[in-house]
Symmetry: C3
């Protein structure tokens, strides 16, 4: 495997094969599999799980990693092509990233959406420009519209807990103090569709996912025997649900417009998951969230601390799933 940028780049069998490998490495650790291998991690945005789980995962496989945080200990990096660089950024990604790649065996990059122009973010313009100058194995640590490591971890978590392949999976918008990127909701709806689930996106008006995102998920669902639809009706969405996956994101109707988003958001205080949300769900309905999550804004303590919550398992599986990716990417041809 040379690149791990999007679950859609792989067949369903390749993804389940990665999860099988993750399960095997959990049962039979390989503490020397990546001996001598070096992973470079570049964070344009903050991280807790991604940083720690990749460093720990490499270490558990016998490899090492280094971390670069542009703007903090390292200069800011410019991403615009053709820029006249007389501003704050001292170095362009066209120099900086190939240099870092030349020091390591694989590179991971986190670069959130710019959040100004939806078409530009949907096209992964920024991440694509970076990926285009790197000739080493590359891992997407979250880009404008994708988070494949999170999705692989979530898929494995659904399998670990034996959630039925064609079960009902509700991705619900939840409240947040401000607009957040679309990466996780876009990746999640596609992941659940690709797994073959009955996917319902529950969101208030103004927060529809982009048509291109929904189309991509529907194509995955069609191939896997699942379905994808959107609704603003909570009762309808949650009836019989086996999974409630909560996520915050910004209004697509006001993309890049913080004030417009904020004006919509003021009336949406009810979009904080409480135990009552599960009244019509299936008996064992699970609560998922990729973390970080704002307690009592997006979800109440009662749900997060209750037995439905599997957020810790999801987070733990970041490490196990990523170890499979690293193993597939770096253990051959040593």
């Amino acid at each position: 495997m040379h690149r791990f940028l999007d679950l859609a780049d792989f067949s369903r069998e390749e993804i389940t094969g990665l999860i099988d490998l993750a399960n095997r490495l959990e049962r039979h650790p390989e503490p020397h599999a990546l001996a001598g291998r070096i992973l470079g991690l570049v964070f344009f945005n903050p991280s807790l799980r991604t940083l720690a789980s990749f460093q720990a995962g490499m270490a558990r496989l016998g490899g090492t990693s280094f971390v670069i945080t542009p703007g903090q200990g390292t200069w800011q990096l410019e991403t615009r092509l053709g820029a006249v660089m007389n501003g704050a950024a001292a170095e362009h990604v066209r120099e900086g990233l190939p240099v870092l790649a030349s020091y390591c065996d694989a590179l991971g990059i986190r670069a959130f959406a710019e959040g100004r122009d939806l078409a530009r973010d949907l096209a992964e313009t920024q991440f694509g420009a970076m990926a285009g100058v790197i000739d080493k194995p590359l891992i997407n640590l979250e880009s404008a519209m994708n988070h494949p490591c999170q999705s692989l971890a979530d898929w494995k978590t659904l399998d670990d807990l034996e959630v039925p392949r064609h079960g009902k999976f509700v991705l619900s918008w939840v409240q947040h103090p401000r607009a957040l990127p679309l990466a996780v909701p876009a990746a999640t709806v596609h992941m659940a569709a690709m797994r073959g689930m009955e996917v319902v996106v529950l969101r208030p008006e103004g927060y529809s996912l982009p048509p291109a995102t929904m189309d991509k998920a529907r194509a995955a669902a069609a191939a896997a025997g699942g379905s994808v639809r959107e609704t603003a009706d909570r009762d309808d969405a949650l009836a019989g649900a086996q999974v409630l996956y909560a996520k915050e994101w910004g209004s697509t109707a006001h993309y890049g417009d913080a004030e417009g988003d904020a004006s919509l958001r003021t009336s949406l205080g009810g979009w904080c998951v409480t135990p009552e949300w599960f009244d019509r769900a299936a008996a064992g309905c699970k609560f998922m969230h990729c973390l970080p999550v704002r307690r009592n804004v997006a979800v109440t303590d009662a749900v997060l601390d209750g037995p439905r919550s599997i957020v810790q398992r999801e987070a733990y599986n970041r490490m196990t799933a990523q170890m499979a990716v690293l193993h597939r990417m770096l253990s051959h041809g040593v």
Copy 2:
């Protein structure tokens, strides 16, 4: 050993056993003892010695470590129970810390005192709330009222230099531009008492250590054949002293009141250790400080650069003492 949070959790024999182990590892390195083991280090506050000595110590035992710094490369973490998280903190320690713990074999946490409510800090409310959600081995890298790694290193330093077990140990308040936490003075007075020393706390009016802190130290002294008292009389305190341990801390009479503390502090410029402080001390009286120290504010260059100063040995012993803790905690049952 599952937790290393407070020297008071261990018997005197357990502590001297740790120091014996530290000495053994100095003489007979074990470069593979912790192979495959991962230590997670979480710093809510700045660090130089703790960060470097734990990373180097793990490496010397064949293990690895990763570092998380909330608010810097990682989001700020909320610690209050029941908080409605609509402020700056994006994640609660109730999620973040168990996640990090799930990636590693032991976790170290540094979280200084909140410095507002003495009773709350004395109860270790904040650190306790974090410790309560972690089921992995845990090390206190400095909490509101404790710094067991520093104390173990200091005890070993006293042994290394053959300071008599029942010798006179003076912990003296020294000047600083502002109020600092009570963690090191509280840990130090207890450590010296537990070692069996004649402990004198020398401090100006308004800077008494809390009664609970003194009581805890006195109980340790009683068990070890030592004593603990407080005074504001420098001549009395330092007469015959074998150790002068300088430390800055905030006024307990004005806890959480920066202005009140500052008004007391203005007249205390004389509390900067000079060579003359040692005039009545024992001939070989040592100068100790946990570092960092502000030269010519807390202590003059002449003392720090002179032969009495053993601050470098203390700092070096952070690594050797912590290696014993890590070895005891992580080398069994591999």
Copy 3:
């Protein structure tokens, strides 16, 4: 080798011996040569290449490293002797650096020029004060007037590309939004002279390199059969050049005077390297730069992205050259 602070501390044969070792390690990796060895890296200033290449280089030789960034996760460090430390810095380098050195087998320090007093910077006052308190092997990661790791990497790059030993090497000043330190130009002119090249420093009026810097380079040239001169005439400088090495630096006529430097700089927009600069150069003339570089300010995209540019090779050789230094410094007497 105990210290790697300045190429001038070594004979020409010792430097070519290091490059031979770097070449050997490229062909025949030694993944266990530095097993158990620990490198401490202290960055008073930002870094991308230095941080990543040292961490990766140590890992490729089986060693480990830790990173300390004063002012970021670690307190600010004071460097002035005799300072009364009642300001922002919580710790003096006289304590902090020996402590860090005691945890590791070698220390690397980056501390840019203070940029106020040229004589003080030329004397390496600040770096010298730090080096003077460290008794472990020490590497200069860029000081006020030197960057020996960059120079060793550049020398190796010239050899890799078979640039003739006595070829014409032009170090040219280029534009930047503000005054930058003299470390790289000073190190580069000395390196090229020591290699035996015909060195021309091309710079506008007001940007002469300091006489002491030129004298040092001329002495190296005399020993190696090369030459060193300065000019402001671009045509003269570049005629027949085999290498154009671009670098930004501050006006020595206005050292420490940002406004004076800025007023000179406004009329120097033409000092941005374009393809036309190579019109009179030798056919295969290479473009070098130590990076980071501001595109379309110091050099145009056309040059950086064109076939003359060997900046990526230079950056890659930071790692290979430094691995030779680390191997020579730390692999003996294990």
